[in-house]
Amino acid sequence: MRPVIRVSAIRKTYGSTVAVDEVSFEVNNGEIFGLIGPNGAGKTTTMECIEGLRTPDRGAISVLGLDPFNDVYQLQERIGVQLQQAQLQKRIKVWEAVDLWASLYRRKASEGERLLEQLGLSDKRNAWFMTLSGGQKQRLFIALALINNPEVVFLDELTTGLDPQARRAIWDLVRGIRERGKTVFLTTHLMEEAERLCDRVAIIEHGRIIDIDKPASLVNRHCPERTVTLATDDRTAAERFRNIPRVEAVICGDSQFTIRGQGDDLVTEVIHCLSENRIRVTDFRTILPTLEDVFLKLTGHSIRD
């Protein structure tokens, strides 16, 4: 697959603060790529360098074969951008914003009204920007980012500050953007969002990329621990569980068991043991590590700290 975005060894400093340091990665055509990390990790700076809004001190960036610094206007025709904490004029109407944005691009714009309908904003088309809710504003910004039918869409902290319901609705919209064959580059500090939405993620901290891969691969690589908890009255169970390969610990409660081990096969092995020995269970749960755990392991602290 041809990379749509290629970032090689960019560095950006503000005064004596190094915001982005030796960052390199590639984003493939048609994927949702997430840059994840805590606030202040360098996500927005990296994204804005790629969008042509900032110039890195050194390093090279290529987007759709263009240089964001020298070919910025050509590039902006072909990308869609949603900025973190952006605002519009307080009293601009929804349809006016869409109409204005559509007029700015040379290429055939998507149908503005249809876009509003798809984003559930049709009944708000005459509302002033200042009267919209947080979720409605974000949906309008998505509409503006899509108005020129872009090949790459940049979404910076898209769901920050939204309630869970609005967040889920936005996730569906982002998946819809990928379905249309576009590449999505997003930043988030929400690990759940990255895990559910992204095909691949890059973890960034203190301006450096720590690791890049599919969310599941990152979890497997850095957090192979698996945990099964189950409930059974079978007295022989504890001994049998200890004999399962790859099991490292069995903790017995009343009739509760917690089985810890390594690797994806642990769950299968436990199920196999249960059925082979006809152990009757009344509860069965698996606890799998998440990107959150990966982040904790790689950086030594939680992303919320």
Partner: protein, 249 residues
């Protein structure tokens, strides 16, 4: 590149008129002040008095024009800084919209509002002018356009560098209003103390006032080439400087 200019200008006009104090503050109030001032001065002095007629026929129209231009500048400074603080400028920058298109749109909006206010004022003030006096409206409009562009460019320079929206209006006012004092509007420049005369020479508003008064009185443009040249220099220097130091965020 003018793509989006007319749409942006039109939308900005509509947005401006939706502001609660927008239209009233910039159009209605100056006209009212003008009417009241005209009435007071007109009644206090005999119609034949030279001072009264000179003030009403020349001073007042020029004063009104300058005040309108300055209030346009202040509102431009404020709007640009609010747009910057709110991230609106940055969002617009992430489109193929060229920076100067955004700025041009705002200048057009301000010029149109200035023109609208002035037209209303001319209509409202007609009753104070004895019929038969020839006022070169077309020439005056051009002179005002030149002056406003020049003053607006100072506004842009201020807008490019003020740190936050809260400071925009006061900083703008502190820079703009003292200019009026030495500009020759109230006291002729020649009657000012020598030090103030030196200041007056470098204040762009002096040339605007001289140009506006002269054209209003019926001078030829030839007599005011110095004023036009000075205003043009101010415009070019301020525009070039603000293009250099303009901050988007």
């Amino acid at each position: 590149m003018l793509r989006g200019l007319w749409k942006l200008t039109w939308i900005e006009i509509k947005i401006f008129l939706r502001e609660p104090l927008g239209a009233i503050g910039t159009i209605v109030i100056p006209v009212l002040v003008f009417l009241v001032a005209g009435r007071i001065v007109g009644h206090g002095l005999a119609p034949t008095s030279l001072a009264a007629s000179s003030f009403i026929t020349v001073g007042l129209p020029v004063l009104a024009s300058v005040l309108i231009a300055i209030s346009a500048v202040l509102s431009l400074v404020t709007i640009i800084s609010i747009y910057r603080e709110g991230g609106i400028l940055k969002r617009l920058r992430a489109t193929p919209l060229r920076p100067h298109t955004i700025l041009t749109a705002h200048v057009i909006v301000k010029l149109l509002l200035t023109a609208a206010t002035l037209a209303l004022m001319v209509l409202a003030g007609k009753r104070y002018y004895p019929s038969g006096i020839h006022v070169p409206l077309f020439g005056f409009t051009i002179a005002l356009l030149i002056s406003t562009c020049s003053i607006l460019s100072i506004g842009f320079l201020i807008a490019s560098i003020v740190p936050t929206a809260r400071f925009a209006q006061p900083i703008g006012a502190v820079i703009m209003y003292p200019m009026i004092a030495v500009s020759g509007l109230f006291v002729p420049v020649e009657a000012l103390p020598p030090a103030a005369q030196v200041v007056a020479k470098v204040v762009p508003l002096t040339y605007a006032v001289s140009l506006l008064e002269g054209i209003w009185k019926g001078d030829t443009w030839w007599a005011h080439t110095r004023d036009v040249a000075a205003l043009a220099v101010v415009f070019i220097v301020c525009t070039a400087l603000s293009a250099k130091v303009f901050r988007w965020e």
